[in-house]
């Protein structure tokens, strides 16, 4: 591999993956609102329309339900659509096609066909875009058998996991946190895939396990570096995939550290950490738990427009630091 330390931003990595997938497989095409000449609401598709033409980079009308329906139909006919939502919040408009069609067809037709569809969802808060454009709804989809739901946290994972998602025979919901788009990181050149069912241990530690996803992985790593100076050793696990979830990595880690904190941006109630916590309590790790599990999730309210309130409504580094101290020092 030439130029080993080449750095790309998260959005560049996704664009590179889209280009590679389209070069490799002519069945792959892109759909979405303003993804053509405009280059996408977050400039992720960029100039792909100039490289692949408007038959393969298709601007769709402003109807997510219609667009999703076309994508599901195309996938059924052995095309490989990648549908971009401008904001993950708008998935609400397309739920019928995603939940009742894409997720079910393989099962209801006895496995005779599948829906090789990728849906890309820019998600998350922090951009001052208020309650209808800032949500983290990934756990909605993780609740639906038949879907795969992933949330890469680094540019390299974004590229490898998107290529794996496009190769995958089943519908993959691909969540991209908007604040990660500008984050740079090493991205290998060429075509490669990352598994869609494996968590990654981002930092090894012995006192407490933090299970985080998307941007929260980075906040957890920051918090871990802060408490390291206090002699607290934190293991940070990047979930990467919500469905299927890599339970064994989580269980092994909690067996080792005896403590668990789940950090996620979506609403705390019924969220990702709720599933992780329950799975841990049901597992062999139960007898290793030496402190109550802590969930840090989004506040139980629509996301505020006011930037200070918006920040206060999702877990931040100081909240994580405080949770680590409470967990490890037996203050819960």
């Amino acid at each position: 591999m030439s130029n080993e330390m080449r750095e790309l931003s998260y959005s560049q990595a996704i664009q590179e993956a889209l280009g590679l997938a389209m070069e490799r497989d002519e069945r792959v095409f892109l759909m979405g609102e303003d993804i053509g000449v405009y280059g996408g609401a977050f400039q992720v598709t960029g100039d792909l329309i100039h490289r692949f033409g408007e038959d393969r980079v298709m601007d769709t009308p402003i109807s997510e339900l219609a667009g999703a329906g076309v994508a599901v139909g195309a996938a059924l006919l052995n095309r490989r659509p990648v549908y971009e939502f401008q904001f993950s919040d708008f998935a609400a408009l397309a739920m019928e096609q995603i939940v009742n069609q894409a997720a079910k067809i393989r099962f209801m037709l006895g496995g005779k066909t599948s829906v090789p569809l990728v849906m890309r969802f820019p998600c998350g808060s922090g951009t001052g875009a208020a309650a209808q454009h800032s949500q983290s709804l990934e756990s909605w989809f993780a609740h639906v058998p038949g879907l795969k739901v992933v949330q890469p946290s680094t540019p390299a994972d974004a590229k490898g996991m998107l290529l794996a998602a496009i190769e995958d025979p089943d519908p993959v919901m691909f969540f991209e946190h908007k604040l990660l788009y500008k984050m740079k990181g090493h991205v290998p050149e060429g075509y490669y895939t990352e598994p869609l069912n494996q968590a990654k241990i981002r930092r090894q530690g012995s006192d407490v396990t933090i299970v985080a996803s998307a941007i929260m992985v980075h906040k957890a790593l920051e918090a871990a570096a802060i408490v390291e100076k206090e002699g607290i050793s934190v293991e940070v696990i990047d979930l990467r995939s919500l469905r299927p979830m890599d339970y064994s990595t989580l269980i092994d880690s909690v067996c080792k550290t005896t403590r668990l904190i789940c950090v996620y941006e979506g609403t705390k109630q019924f969220g990702i950490g709720t599933e992780v916590a329950a799975a841990i309590v049901e597992s062999a790790a139960f007898d290793r738990l030496d402190a109550p599990i802590i969930r840090l999730g989004g506040a139980d309210c629509p996301l505020p427009y006011n930037p200070e309130l918006e920040k206060a409504a999702v877990p931040q580094v100081p909240n994580i630091v405080e949770a680590i101290r409470r967990s490890v020092k037996g203050r819960i």
Binding site: A284, D290, I332
Partner: protein, 425 residues
């Protein structure tokens, strides 16, 4: 219902208080507001009033004793009331002095009060607060949780409290107290502790022990093995805790540790629990580093009804099957003769190696272990594959012995002894 008298929280930082004086005794009539006892905290001495009018009964807590906030100290009975048979969960009721805990948007939901009907002796089990880890460690070490002070919030007993108690009480502990321990060699200095594999016992170390010079050697029969009693094993940690507990009772503080196969996995679990007491760690074809294990062997061992049906399985242990002597078969079969032993082994196999899979990985035990560590494996091991030795931390030395099966200490006694001596130099 009777009114409880408890250790009150008189200031925010207070976690426990000392009983300084009782102004009343059982049977005394008290009126609401009357001073009934005096407490000392870190900061002050304070008188505590009767919360209601009635008759004092069931006083517990001697003068000079420190108890946690919320601990029951006695009862005030109204006319016609009698002492409750069980005190209510101390955590389920709030004292007037207790401030509600602050809850922020990100706070954990307050943990539910533990109310496990633990089969414990002594104090009131329903008042017990302990983490799952503390409970499992206490169970494995035969420690009475109710006897432990908890360092966690509201006196919750945590894993560290139990391990502290294990270290503090060399004579304590029921699990492990019936493990058979044999000083194979008595000598000065830090002893070498040998842990045998599944279905074996400490008698198997004879040849190896003869090659080790000038070191005290202890052989221990694992639970359900050899001369040790039968006990229910819930996990690998239970086995390790039993061994630790037995060593505590023997007064062995530091030791070199060698484990073979299941004994190797036990040694790894011990390395997690008591790493500070280890001087070196030697693992012979250890379990606990991967999922595969020869399920047929384990099953065959558990089911064999005669020496003849056992023999083919034992042959799997050797590279050179000619080494499988009739006395080896006879000794191995002896392990299975008692029905109780056999059931114990089966139960243990079911927990530790369900469906021919090793249930517990202890790979992480090797990470950051600061003592000399060697892993020794025969290249023709048909019980636990050599591939489990791959990818261990760099500081762990791996020795692969050529033309050796699962029992390197029998097939390559000299090599194993020499490597072991290096560890203990």
């Amino acid at each position: 219902m009777a009114t409880e008298v408890i250790m009150p929280r008189v200031d925010m930082d207070m976690t426990e208080g000392k009983i300084a004086f009782w102004y009343v005794k059982n049977g005394d009539a008290v009126t609401k507001g009357q001073v009934i006892f005096e407490i000392e905290t870190d900061k002050a001495t304070m008188e505590v009033d009767a919360p209601v009018t009635g008759t004092i009964d069931g006083i517990q807590g001697a003068v000079g004793e420190s108890v946690l906030v919320g601990t029951n100290l006695g009862w005030i009975l109204a006319a016609g009331e009698s002492l409750p048979t069980q005190t209510p969960d101390a955590t389920a009721q709030t004292t007037p002095q207790t401030e509600p805990e602050k809850v922020t948007a990100f706070d954990a939901t307050p943990a539910a009060a533990t109310n496990e009907p633990a089969a414990m002796s002594g104090a009131d089990p329903s008042a017990l607060r302990a983490t799952p880890l503390a409970r499992s460690l206490a169970h494995a070490n035969g420690i009475d949780l109710l006897s432990l002070p908890g360092s966690g919030p509201n006196g919750r007993v945590q894993g560290a409290d139990v391990m502290h108690a294990v270290r503090q009480t060399p004579m304590g502990g029921d699990a492990g107290s019936d493990l058979h321990l044999n000083w194979i060699v008595r000598a000065e200095g830090i002893p070498l502790v040998l842990l045998h594999g599944f279905g074996a016992d400490q008698g198997g170390w004879r040849n190896l022990a003869a090659q080790i010079k000038g070191v005290a050697i202890i052989g221990i029969d694992l639970p359900n093995h050899g001369k040790s009693g039968s006990s229910t094993i819930g996990s690998l940690d239970d086995v390790a805790a039993a061994v630790v507990s037995r060593l505590n009772r023997e007064g062995v503080k530091e030791f070199h540790l060698l484990g073979h196969s299941l004994g190797g996995a036990t040694a790894l679990a011990m390395a997690e629990m008591v790493s500070s007491r280890l001087r070196s760690l030697t693992l012979l074809a250890p379990a606990g580093l991967g999922a595969d294990i020869n399920g047929g062997f384990i099953d065959g061992l558990c089911r064999a009804n005669s020496e003849a049906s056992l023999k083919p399985w034992l042959a799997e242990l050797f590279h050179d099957e000619r080494l499988l002597s009739s006395s080896f078969v006879a000794t191995a079969y002896k392990q299975l003769e008692s029905v109780q032993k056999r059931e114990g082994l089966r139960a243990m196999a079911k927990v530790l190696m369900p469906d021919g899979t090793q249930a517990t990985s202890k790979r992480t035990a090797l990470e950051g272990l600061a003592v000399p560590t060697k892993v020794i494996w025969g290249n023709d091991d048909r019980i636990i594959p050599l591939k489990h030795a791959q990818g261990l931390p760099g500081r762990v030395a791996l020795h692969v012995l050529k033309n050796v099966g699962h029992l390197s200490y029998i097939e390559a006694t000299d090599d194993v002894a020499a490597l072991l001596m290096e560890q203990m130099r």
